[in-house]
Assembly symmetry: C2
């Protein structure tokens, strides 16, 4: 698996069920959402801007895409609407095709731009580690079949030892 | 990672939060439980019986253990008490130390004995595939740190293409 193939397999609309476990107080949160993943041009202004801000040559990038989500959480009896979108730009390591960096306009854990390090495991699982100022996020995404993806996200304290939130999404292709 | 080390790291008492996603009807189920994992003797009667029933030489086995769980589900407004225990017996492949079989007295998906095939990914994730008559279960377990385990279980239709239930557990060591 390389990043180009992974992005191609991810393009489409997904219905997502996400459960977040807030570990310190054993709280369960349930989120239902629709996620759209669409390819964008390497010449798109948002891509060029993100590359510039990160000091990345646009010749190095592969398969930029846009992710949009709209969902609803049951946190506090469920009226919170969650929505947003983010441009993501993979920058493969020229020497190791199963590794690279992922630039993103906006992270999950914080609202600022972030650069994560990704790699693929031998079974095709995509592993992304992103370090923020006071936290680190570790995400694993894998395809069970072409129409089902699983995603596990861990938010850790910045030292990396404590896990604050563990969340799991099952994503079913809609189109 | 090999199975002996994995079992050793798993010994103890764990507080588990489990979310099950019943995909066909977008249902969330939340289960809180306590899981005890304890080593048992290779000469324990239950181990010898399980080996015999599976046609496995007791000389081949490594680190048998017993898993017990007691929990509560919010399915149907939450009065269901879940409890049980199972003896598990790893049988490493003599030629490939990162692979083998796992005999278990009792599976999660069915109440009969079952033999699964396990392997470890390069990042230490334990992957177990168990085929039943009309279903297949795929389980991934990994340690985030010595005191936090994640577990993703998928129940598939026997052809393996459809996913019926995807569940995620975050497990925190209590002792």
């Amino acid at each position: 698996m390389d990043i180009k193939e992974f992005v191609e397999k991810s393009i489409g609309q997904w219905r997502s069920q996400r459960s977040a476990h807030h570990l310190a107080f054993s709280h369960f949160e349930a989120v239902e959402s629709v996620i759209d993943i669409e390819p964008i041009s390497q010449e798109d202004a948002s891509v060029i801007e993100l590359c510039k801000a990160s000091g990345v040559d646009t010749q190095q990038i592969v398969a930029p895409f846009k992710m949009s989500w709209e969902g609803q959480s049951d946190w506090d009896d469920g009226e919170e609407i969650l929505q947003g979108s983010s441009v993501l730009v993979p920058v493969p390591d020229p020497k190791q095709p199963n590794r690279g960096q992922l630039l993103r306009e906006q992270g999950y854990a914080e609202t600022m731009a972030a650069t994560g390090d990704y790699r693929f495991l031998e079974d095709g699982t995509f592993v992304l580690v992103t370090n923020y100022d006071r936290a680190a996020a570790e995400e694993k995404i894998w395809f069970v079949n072409p129409n089902v993806r699983c995603r596990v996200s861990l938010i850790k304290t910045s030292g990396g030892s404590g896990v604050v939130t563990a969340s799991f999404s099952s994503e079913i292709r809609q189109s």
